[in-house]
Symmetry: C2
Subunit: 219 residues, 2 copies
DNA sequence: GCCGTTTAGATTGCGTGCAATCAGCGCCTG
DNA sequence: CAGGCGCTGATTGCACGCAATCTAAACGGC
């Protein structure tokens, strides 16, 4: 049996990421305790953790709310992420082993298959594989602090289901970045890897901002 | 009356920073509860928070220990900090107001007075003023996430009483960096500010690594 | 004598009760 | 009718108790 805290944490986090708890909605401790079938104590701890990761904000004596992101927040977070991921890629270039790069090549193929146009397209699977791909880079960077920080800024894009906003061209470019990143890592070239990763994240930021702009426009 | 959690948090944090709780020592919840004159509940929350900030590590069912830093950790943290502070300085350059830069100039003078050689030297006061100086930059960056991340990597140097390892030349260079940073911010030049801040932090890293090397050597 | 096993002690993790605090709202007053 | 104030209901924050789990030491077997 796992710890009740982790159980509550995953459940609440899942609820936010899948959109069950929409931004601004009030999350009572008692309510969440009932939902997770535990008591208020583990729920409290889970909420504190989610607060640190920026997914919820708790106001003293006013409870917890799911954080609502503005366009400026999005931009800021992606800039931060670009920097951190680039840093991780740089470190990974001099530490990663061939078994990891092999796996990454395999992931590239799987992603390209799932992202390819047609009936077989499965963008949620792309998101999943993409997460593993980037997870390998971060793990290879060998820095627990860096991983912690990245987790905080990486969870956000999941909330808005980033990949569903990618055009075919965007997807193709993303895959090309992945291939290039593997090449840079294999070559052990930190500067190259850093640069590619930076492009990769900033391209994702552009996609998101474009999508956000067209959304507000259409209202 | 402040919240018991904050009270416990500050007290434990203080204990670690002043060296009362040395790395590796086991911190029992009951023991800390007695020390902070509260119950175990707020102590638990404070420990979780300190864990996220990297000051302690709690192992499931095995309690909390003060984290022990290796030289590699130090290097990694300073590289991270250099990047994050540079990012903050960049953003601050286009947002900071003249009242803040004026205050920073005042702080420069105070720091130089406290750092000056002779009987009046007070390195702990330098550390304090330096913290305010950098705090202004981070606040001007206008990013709560960035501030959170920086807090995690900035607390560490306090543990090892960084400034007591600075040579007179190191101190002079540090003050020069401060002056230059204010100039860059006043000019609204993000790239300049970024570059100066990067130099500033990397210089600090060099001082610390040099000190660490001579320490291990002398044993 | 060394190692695996078991048991006792201690400590954490979790559940629940109670009191302090705050948000919302109706009432009173100017 | 608008603004301020006190009241009430609900929610959080904290303390404490109990059970599950782990550490460490003592014991027995090889």
């Amino acid at each position: 049996m796992v710890r009740a805290v982790d159980h509550a944490y995953s459940l609440i986090r899942e609820g936010i990421l899948t959109g069950r708890h929409t931004p601004g909605v009030r999350l009572g401790e008692a309510e969440l305790a009932e939902l997770t079938e535990t008591s208020r104590t583990p729920v409290r701890e889970a909420l504190r953790q989610l607060e640190m990761e920026g997914l919820v904000e708790v106001l003293p004596h006013r409870g917890a709310r799911v954080t609502a992101w503005t366009a400026a927040d999005l931009e800021e977070i992606y800039d931060l992420r670009a920097m951190l991921e680039a840093f991780a890629a740089d470190r990974a270039a001099s530490r990663i082993g061939s078994e990891d790069t092999d796996r990454m090549t395999g992931l590239c193929e799987l992603i390209e298959a799932a992202a390819g146009p047609g009936a077989g397209q499965d963008l949620d699977r792309v998101a999943e594989l993409n997460a593993e791909f980037h997870g390998l880079v971060r793990a290879a960077a060998g820095s627990t602090r860096l991983v912690t920080m990245l987790n905080a800024v990486v969870q956000l894009p999941l909330v808005v289901r980033t990949f569903h906003r990618y055009s075919p061209d965007d997807l193709a470019r993303s895959c090309a970045h992945h291939r290039e990143l593997v090449a840079a890592l294999r070559a052990g070239d930190g500067l190259w890897a850093r640069s590619v990763m930076r492009s990769h994240v900033l391209a994702a930021k552009a996609v998101l901002l474009r999508a956000a702009a067209s959304e507000t426009e259409s209202r």
